[in-house]
Subunit: 215 residues, 3 copies
């Protein structure tokens, strides 16, 4: 019985980790979507609603992460390495936290409209989150490994794109904005958003390492 | 023999990790206390003394951390999971480092008086450190698990409170302070202090995961 | 057969990890050297060449890191603990990333000349990287353990020196520079460079923990 076969055999029993990870990535996608909604909101009221919703989703994400860690503490058999489960749960949690932190800053700093690079980064986070979700869903059945690999490749190219958007955004910020206080505010939000795309890439790396071990 | 019983049986032999962890958390409490003293000092001389003392405690903390890692390298049997020992030692070290870093910045930036949110955060770090100390002491005997759980719950609510203090402090800073250089200085210190409360929460999470595995 | 003997016996079989780690540390040294070259470049053209070269080396470093992780995924027997291999590869990657990030910022922020503390930090990173390289090379043969220990001690003292350079640099920056935007730019680069020396120290700590376990 190949390792792959053993895995296939074990998976049906895993009623816990995969559904939790699917919830976690679905929640990450929804949080990223709400960030895009925030970017497209043209009234203060709509913005307040979006920020509140991101807060709510962050709490849900926290609960899912805690459930994964609890399962990890009480289960001796896990569908893949314990450290990989822990890392994957942590980085998904990080993405949601960073989106939440950005939205919180936009609120605290009274930033009326998200700038073009902020909106572009939000879209790249959403795309990355969707690819991670696809990869996690396919990790469960292990039937479509090439779909997983494709998703991971896309996450890497999205992160490269985000790097470019971030670097150009920062360069332009220092060229055009002469108010240091505005620079402090905008730079912090851009950095948080860019870090969120880094964390998507970290998630892709963990999934890649799971793939290597099980195929 | 239940896992719990096995643990009780093993514990008397552990002459090393628990005393070291108790030293580490006691040192963390003392460092946080000295930060509160710094906040209440009304002369430059008193402030210098407090900062020097924090520096001294940070060195002591470093030594304790190294001793824990050395024990970890040479012991095959540990009272709980190696990664948990490593994580707990690291986050306690992080709390002390962040307090030290904040005190250092207060000195370097020639900040005469800690602001109200800084003092509040220092108090919350102290309270959090004390709860972690209580949890670690009780982890040794494992006789009063509800005391551990209570301590962990308190750490989480302290961290929520710290988040609020930090967010309000930052919002007010940007409203009231018009000197960008002052904003840079104060924001950096507030961020370090708030991160210290995050690390207390991380310590609580590690202890929680140890509890789940052994009860 | 002592553990040491077992290790000596296993090492000849390890055709993979040691050569990869040697490549990784050699690449880190070269990246740090190029940063020093950047510091000594007196024309915009020379600076552009150095920054491009750092970018190239960062890509090479990424590939080496991925190869180490791939080996880790497919090998059951490793010359030392899996987590140590992973940590060491990660921190070496971090050093290169931080050098690259600093060079990128120097470019984006149109900083014509690296300041004296920046150049000093670059030199300390280079020295630290060279010591880590020496330690890794000696880790392979395990014949000259005192050479490893000496290298690690030097890394720690280099990091202490870097702390001092950084703190003095920041204090002077706030005293002399009155343009908040310049402070933001320079502070960010100094912080990244100082963090690179911290990561060298982290690498030394991992190597220290490997030593403890195998001797």
């Amino acid at each position: 019985m190949k390792l792959d076969g053993i895995l296939q055999f074990l998976i049906p029993k895993d009623k816990k980790f995969f559904p939790l990870f699917e919830q976690a990535t679905a929640n990450m996608v929804q949080t990223a979507e709400t960030l895009c909604t925030l970017g497209n909101s043209n009234t203060n009221e709509k913005r307040k609603v979006a920020i509140k919703e991101i807060e709510r989703l962050e709490h849900i994400g926290d609960n899912i992460t805690h459930m994964i860690f609890n399962e990890l503490g009480t289960n001796f058999i896990t569908p893949f390495d314990r450290e990989d489960i822990q890392s994957l749960a942590s980085v998904i949690d990080d993405v949601v936290d960073l989106i939440h932190g950005s939205a919180k800053r936009i609120d605290l700093y009274k930033i009326e409209e998200m700038s073009t690079p902020m909106i572009k980064l939000a879209e790249l986070i959403l795309k990355g989150a969707m690819e991670i979700h696809v990869a996690v869903v396919n990790l469960k059945s292990m039937k479509n490994i090439s779909a997983i690999k494709e998703a991971l490749v896309k996450v890497h190219s999205l992160e490269n794109h985000a790097d470019e958007v971030f670097n150009n955004g920062i360069a332009r910020l220092f060229e055009e904005e002469k108010d240091a206080i505005q620079i402090i505010k905008i730079k912090e939000i851009l950095s948080a958003l860019e870090t969120a795309t880094d964390k998507c890439e970290d998630a892709a790396d963990v999934i890649h390492s799971i793939l290597i071990k099980t195929t």
